[in-house]
Amino acid sequence: MKMVFKVSVERCIACGKCELACAFAHGSEGRPSATRINIHRRGPELGTPVVCFQCDDAACAAVCPTQALVRNDETGAIEMIRSRCISCRMCVAACPFGNMLWDETYHCVQKCDLCGGEPRCVPFCPTGAIAWVPAAEAAIPPEKLDRENLEAR
């Protein structure tokens, strides 16, 4: 079953727990700035969690010159193979949503890898603003891309 992130913007209180959980799950020091999920803070206790969409037709993977970004068919995540990354930052420039993150400490690119199919940020969200649900249960099911009839909007 395909699982997706369900983001309920009205529930986010911008507490930053998801950011911290992500930083601790991925980095040895848990620097909050090393997070791969970001809350756009638009006021006191008002936020919008922004996380990688794992796009079907991903710009980051298409632009990568060394095929360092590959789809993990099991989890559906586009994962970065660190040993192949040449740190050219093409994916950072290419991602239309700003979800490829340049890590100045390790000089490499960080992206959401869905923690192997069980995102660590989700259980820490106190209000349920982010949930990990089957795609069919999400409020607005993601539209299927009709490649033949693509039109410029």
Binding site: V7, S8, V9, E10, N38, H40, R42, T48, V50, A62, V63, P65, T66, Q67, A68, I81, S83, R84, C85, I86, S87, C88, R89, M90, V92, A93, A94, C95, P96, F97, G98, N99, M100, L101, W102, H107, A139, I140
Partner: protein, 254 residues
Amino acid sequence: MPTLTVNGRKITVDADAYLLEACRKAGADVPTLCNFDGLEPWGGCRLCVVDMSLATWDDDWFKMVTSCNHPVEEGMTVVTDSERVLATRRVVLDLLLARCPETPLIQQLAREHGIEETSYQRNPEPTDCILCGLCTRVCDHIGVSAISSVGRGWGREIAPPFNEPPPDCVGCLACAEICPTGHITFTTSSLTRTIWGKEFEMLRDETTGEAVITRDQAEHFAKRSGVPATYFETSDRTKRRELAKTFEKLQVVK
């Protein structure tokens, strides 16, 4: 999928794999300096040599090959730590240590192979460049080819054409990031970036002033991908903010 015997262990790898992958899979420690997963193998540093024998060869007949660029074959026998393999690696490291006596990476690798001091004449002008070619290969790979190796023999070095600021360089820093010894130096800020003696203007986001790539880099990406160069002007932070705004519009009101 071919099955090989590496140091007595049976290992199965993909048909298009190289020997090095099979050795690593078998848990054998094969040192490399010029190998990089994202790039085609090159066989330049000669550190990854192993003894290899095909199924059809006599039992005691082994050939020494560089494992990084030697394709695997069904029934191969590989020995990664025979006496002559280790001796060859020691000679290579001894020579590298003579060339780069002050490079920590080479010192450590040499020490692991039992060499504290080079037995050859020490390079009077110590350098950190081990001529592994990673920088030139990565530059070729992203379609820029701004630098290459220059000269031959002891005078060989990595340099831009005529030792002048390279006109083709886009300032992506891939060569400096991949350099295993940190020989390639650069400076970078949100305003300018300097590498190979060439100064670049950074592509700054209008609202936040942040920059991750240079203007030349954006133009290079634009030419490759077919999107306008202005697309790259938006920083990832601004793009996330735009995304958040879209999310807010999509709120499901109950």
